[in-house]
Amino acid sequence: MIEVQNLSKHFRDKKRGEIRAVDGVSFRCQPGQIYGLLGANGAGKTTTLRMLATILEPSAGTAVVAGHDVVDHPERVRANVGFLSTATALYPRLTAREVVQYFGRLNGLSDAVLRQRVDKIFDRLDMNGFRDRRCDKLSTGMKQKTSIARTLVHDPAVMIFDEPTLGLDIMTARTITAFIRECRDLGKTVIFSTHIMSEVEKLCDVIGIIQGGKLLAEGSLEELRAKYGERDLEEIFVKVVAPHYVPPPEAN
């Protein structure tokens, strides 16, 4: 379960002054459901998810993730969250197994439990062929599997994916989307961000459209279709976002 109340994040920028990357966002994600955060680049998706994963601290508002407040108990939140993004790389000088073990240990797993857990995950993700290969020698697909194993090792109740398929080839991207669905089927709370419409259409139970740090529309695909009188999600997105759209500033 994720409950977000009025969550805001402000940055100071030397040139542009105060930036409201996330501005009073509220929403709720239920266990066994996939919540999709849809937005253009710079809309505030990554900042929102980073706050939920307690990598960034909110400037205002609250969020409760898996029963723990992100400001009061960030360590407890992280212990219940699996966080995967294109920016979460692996340690190149460790082997696939060592990476997964490292994160298992940091999550407080005992050696015996860890060994069992690692064996199970490696079997399920079909990773035994490269378990002792260093991460810098792995293919993109193998790396992605290792990252998935890393987020799963402590069996978190909440999964946060920040543009997980960005820059991946179709086959690898499909591994990820299949994995996201599997997480939902296991009863986990899943939130993920993307700007790819087809992914949202295929995966999400609830869609939130975000622009300029504000959540502009929310609902299931059917609800959004009814509300905006469009079948195509892209048309809905444009209808929602266009009045608020400001092109993102050059290179930040």
Partner: protein, 401 residues
Amino acid sequence: MSLRNVGIVYRKELTEALRDSRTLISSILIPLFLFPVLTVGIGYAFVEVADQASHEASRIMVLGGADSPDVVQKLKDAKNLRIVKPRADYVDLISNKKIRAAVDLPPGFQSDVEHGAHPDVKIYIFSGDLKSMLSATRIKEQLTEYRDSMVRDRLAAQHLPDSLMKPFGVEQQNVVSEDRVAGESYGGLITYLVILMCMTGAMYPAMDLTAGEKERGTMETILSSPIERTHLVLGKFLVVLTASLATATLSVLSMAGSFAVLAHYGKGQGIGDDFPILTMHAKTAFAIFIMALPVAVLFSAVLMTISLFAKTFKEAQSYLTPMTFLVIVPAIAAVIPGIELTAKLALVPILNVGLLCKELVTGTYHWEYIALIFGCTCVYAGIALFLAVKMFQRESVLFSS
């Protein structure tokens, strides 16, 4: 739970560091091989050069002296001098090192001497050029011998004893042990190298574990794990400190080893005679290690804090290069002969430890300074570590974009 996590991070970072060839080279190979090469290699080269210079006859010129055959003959007979034909451009020849010196005998030198007129002989040299100064010493030796024999002849002619001119003798004797002589000669250098090695060892891992982590994109991965940031930075810091101390320790060991080898094989080959050989006692090495400890903490924390601001390894390198100068300057200042510990200097970081270790190597233990310097270096180190932990909590530093 907390210490366990620091340990987990430490073990993982150490494993990674040991698998990185760049870290291995800078933290282990360089200190291991630098000192044998420096001491044995340069030591031998120095002895060789000095040896060559002492066996080679100096080319000199005698100006005038046609009417003073005795003194000219005396110079010609000297095995370590080679007389070349006089030329008017002797100043140029000396400047260009074609000849090492010129002896200027005034006209009528020999007859003036015999009649007690006290003429002056001039020696023209290239001051600062070792070989030129050596040739002047050789010329003076010959002239002094010539003068002494003249005095003896005159005394004998008057039936007077030799002791008339030399009523007493003067003898200079060293009363300090060979170790302390060596310590006084090399103490500064050793200290300088230890301080430098503490930094060299910490430098690479400090950049790799902070800016390198950002560059490889693993910073966000580790921040998404339940570990507290304080524990994460402490684990990383301990790895940097380990590298710093390992490098310093290996340097001291390999230095002690090099000196031991030099002492064993060098004796009787002229090394031990002209250049005192240092035997590092376990006690001295231990004392240096203890003093190096807070310095290593200081370096590790400062280098880590600075490189944390960089987004890439390269950027970190450009930040740390000026730091190197900040460390080298006080370390060199400590080596300058004549600068000695005072209460004020004892508060200057790095310089204080440099000066103190110089004393430790010579076997001097000023306990009040040892306590003061150890204490204040610990305070500086503590501040630096605190700063590193603080910076690791700042989002603008971790996600500088």
